[in-house]
């Protein structure tokens, strides 16, 4: 009997202590984590694809609903402004790839009416193979693409050179960018007017 | 003749036309070495001593238990010595050395034309006294075939099973188990006059309630039908090797599978080789004891193969000399068939009642057998008559995982040697199994009848 009570007491004490420690640390680190996630995940991607801007992307971002019925979803749009003037917008789209979902941040230059760049945000493909889609050699092919184009790999009859050995990842990037192009084509005016 | 056996992956077939060869009697050598253990069970007790004069057919060894049979002097002569010598089938046994005199004489006989009116017990006793045995490494005597309960070694396999059913099928087989062996084939063509009477005697001894079958090779159908003359129905079977084994003969003729280690009596079948049946007939009717063997001498060192009638106790050297076979090229001398026979270390080894064949092989035809890897080709699984997995069993044996082989029913192995014959890796399959059985003290397959 004494053993059982001892067990219960010891386990309870350890659980309570660790629980308390964890919740304290969670509180302390919540803010730095959120900041770090934006800083390391979204910001580099946005910086690489948007022209120079001076506003805070986090504060200015808006949620925008696109599609109808089953394909309805909410996307986050980041506007890039300089001196109060809207230069470009960026939005993130996803496509399923070799190792799971692949996220692409697509920037759109409002002046030129062309893509200002594409950057891969999240992917879990094979390191050294699928991840090579992040390299400029591949990703820079999406720069300055006009709105009315549907992108495809050369092997599929399009104009994009796939990363050797990673045609699935390359195809997924194409699809994500195509999605973004579609969204901008269909809703671009609305988004721009809302952002302004 | 044997060269045809070196066919790649071809099934072993019974040798053709060996039974048509003339049979010459080997003249008596100067010394005969008559083993007192030529049978299953205990060694016979000598009833002569050094210096005694013996006559052909005189009893020199007295059977000591139910499984064994008496031993007779094959020739007139003088007992020189009784000594321990290596037995061709392993171990040592007492040998009566007889110095023979002059020409080979016929055996004295005590005929009994009224034998059919005797009781079975009297007949079996007389057969045993006349020393009639089957062939093989540990040949059973004819009386133990009909009474497996009386043999301790047989009894083990029957413990815990239902009592023996009455014999409803008697199979007299004129098929030799192994390819070169041709003694039973010989009987059906050359001693066909005695066949009906022998079958009748066997029917009486086995108290058969159902049918009687004379099994013969498909090449001998006509002769067999003539010889059986209505005493038994003739069934022909192919002479493909593992199928000629006694167990498989029973299975092919009756569809009954004999439990591992048990005798065919346990499924109500009695199997008698034709040669043994005729020898038994000669024992009870003519009173002739078994003192000589008809031996096939073959192998690639022997061209052409021959059949000779040799006295029991004649050393292999004298038989080979009589057959004009030079000894120098012979590297392996096998008593018995080329698959399951027993290889001998000396040309001086005398023949016993178990020896029906002498196979002499040259070394250039022998293949190196070694503990190579099994490549899992599956040939042994395909050909195994017991439907075992010899490839796995041999690996267990090789690495001495003996518990596993018992679980995998190695007791059902017929020790036919086909797995070793076809193995492309040249693994010593049969050796593995025999060794494992010995280690685990499992019953070995002898000449189980």
């Amino acid at each position: 009997m004494r053993d059982i009570i001892k067990m219960i007491v010891v386990l309870s004490v350890i659980s309570a202590t660790t629980g308390a420690a964890l919740s304290y640390i969670n509180n302390v680190t919540a803010k730095p984590i959120a900041a770090a996630e934006f800083q390391y995940l979204k910001e580099p991607a946005l910086k690489s694809i948007l022209p120079a801007y001076d506003n805070s992307l986090v504060e200015d971002k808006i949620e925008f609903a696109v599609g109808e019925g089953e394909s309805a979803k909410t996307i986050t749009v980041y506007p890039a402004k300089k001196d109060g003037k809207l230069l470009a917008i960026a939005l993130e789209t996803f496509a399923s790839s070799y190792g799971g979902d692949l996220g692409a941040m697509v920037g759109y230059d409002i002046e030129k009416k062309r893509l200002s760049g594409v950057s891969i945000t999240t992917m879990s493909d094979t390191p050294g193979l699928g991840t090579r889609t992040k390299e400029p050699k591949f990703i820079d092919q999406f720069k300055d693409v006009p709105l009315d184009v549907t992108l495809a790999l050369k092997a599929d009859g399009g104009g994009i050179d796939a990363v050797t050995g990673a045609s699935i990842s390359s195809r997924a990037v194409c699809k994500a960018v195509n999605d973004a192009l579609g969204i901008i084509r269909d809703n671009g005016e609305n988004i721009i007017s809302e952002v302004k | 003749m044997l060269n045809s056996l070196y066919e790649i992956l071809m099934p072993l077939r019974a040798a053709k036309n060996l039974d048509k060869l003339p049979v010459n009697a080997v003249p008596a050598p100067e010394f005969l070495y008559v083993h007192l253990k030529q049978h299953e069970g205990a060694e016979a007790a000598p009833v002569v001593k050094a210096g005694d004069e013996v006559k052909a057919g005189q009893t020199i060894g007295w059977a000591m238990d139910f499984m064994s049979a008496d031993v007779h002097a094959p020739m007139d002569g003088k007992v020189v010595d009784i000594e321990r010598q290596p037995n061709p089938y392993g171990g040592f046994s007492s040998v009566v050395v007889i110095k023979t005199e002059g020409k080979r004489k016929s055996v004295e006989s005590t005929p009994d034309p009224d034998y059919l009116s005797k009781t079975n017990g009297e007949l079996l006793h007389r057969i045993r006294r006349m020393g009639v045995m089957c062939e093989g490494p540990a040949p059973p005597s004819i009386h133990s075939i009909f009474n497996p309960y009386m043999c301790p070694s047989r009894l083990v396999a029957h413990v815990g099973r239902d009592p023996l059913p009455p014999v409803d099928t008697l199979i007299v087989t004129a098929i030799d188990e192994e390819p070169i062996v041709s003694i039973n084939q010989y009987m059906i063509t050359r001693q066909s006059n005695d066949v009906p009477e022998a079958i009748k005697l066997m029917k009486k001894l086995s108290v058969v309630t159902g049918r009687t079958v004379l099994a013969c090779l498909d090449t001998q159908k006509k002769e067999a039908e003539k010889a059986a003359s209505g005493e038994a129905e003739v069934r022909i079977m192919s002479g493909r090797y593992p199928g000629t084994l006694r167990e498989l003969t029973v299975w092919r003729l009756t569809g009954r599978e004999i439990p591992a280690g048990a005798s065919p009596m346990s499924v109500g079948v009695a199997v008698i080789p034709l040669r043994t049946a005729i020898a038994a007939l000669k024992a009870v009717r003519d009173g002739i004891p078994q003192t000589s063997m008809i031996v096939t001498v073959a192998g690639d060192a022997v061209t052409p193969p021959q059949m000779v009638d040799a006295l029991i106790g004649t050393p292999a050297r004298d038989i080979l000399k009589f057959c004009d076979v030079p000894e120098a090229p012979i590297k392996k001398l096998v008593f018995g068939g080329p698959i399951r026979g027993k290889s001998q270390f000396s040309f001086d080894m005398p023949i016993t009642k178990g020896v029906n064949t002498i196979v002499a092989l040259k070394v250039d035809k022998l293949v190196p057998i070694a503990e190579n890897n099994c490549i899992n080709c599956g040939a042994c699984v395909e050909f195994c008559p017991a439907r075992l997995q010899p490839n796995m069993l041999s690996r267990h044996c090789q690495f001495r995982v003996f518990d596993e082989i018992v679980k995998k029913h190695i007791t059902a192995c017929l020790e036919c040697g086909v797995c070793g014959y076809i193995c492309p890796s040249r693994r010593p399959m049969l050796q593995y199994f025999q060794n494992a059985k010995q280690q685990m003290k499992l019953p070995r397959k002898g000449n189980m009848l």
């Binding site: 053993d3 386990l11 640390i25 | -």
Partner: protein, 195 residues
Amino acid sequence: MRFYQEFIKGLWKEIPPFKLVLGLCPTLAVTAAAANGFYMGMATTFVLVCSNVLISMLRKVIPSKVRIAAYILVIASFVVIVEMMMKAYVFPFYQILGIFIPLIVVNCIILGRAEAFAAKNGVLYSFADGLGIGIGFTIALTFLGAIRELFGVGSIWGFAVMPATYMPFEFMIKAPGAFVCLGVILGLMSLVGKK
């Protein structure tokens, strides 16, 4: 002296994945590059040292019947702390190690050392043991990662060492390559140990 011995044994005699053959999950999963292996090893070392020390302190308090549950609680807490700290202050490391950090909880090296060493020895020796084994683990993971990276990518720690014409042997940085590579190293280690 004994402190030194407990420390040094983890570096060769009981080096975890190669000699103890423990903790294979991270060994196979994260060693596609030398740097990944190193960071994973460091994170594991931190958890290992902390949990070893704490469990060694509590070893007389914890009843033996619930010891595994208690160990897991302690280990899991440290792992979560490591994860949150990394996320908050060294996010790039977190990005590399990602989902493998939570797996440290079930890394059998940590539970194994807790059970086999910390539960029976004093705090100081447990610290030495945890540090030694952890550093050994780090060395092993870095070594394996370096080999796989060298052949699979042509670089070590991100620096290209193979000539530009080298066609990477990408099998090495994929999952089956990890198995083969680890297997070969294990075989060579036991060969060396035999002599």
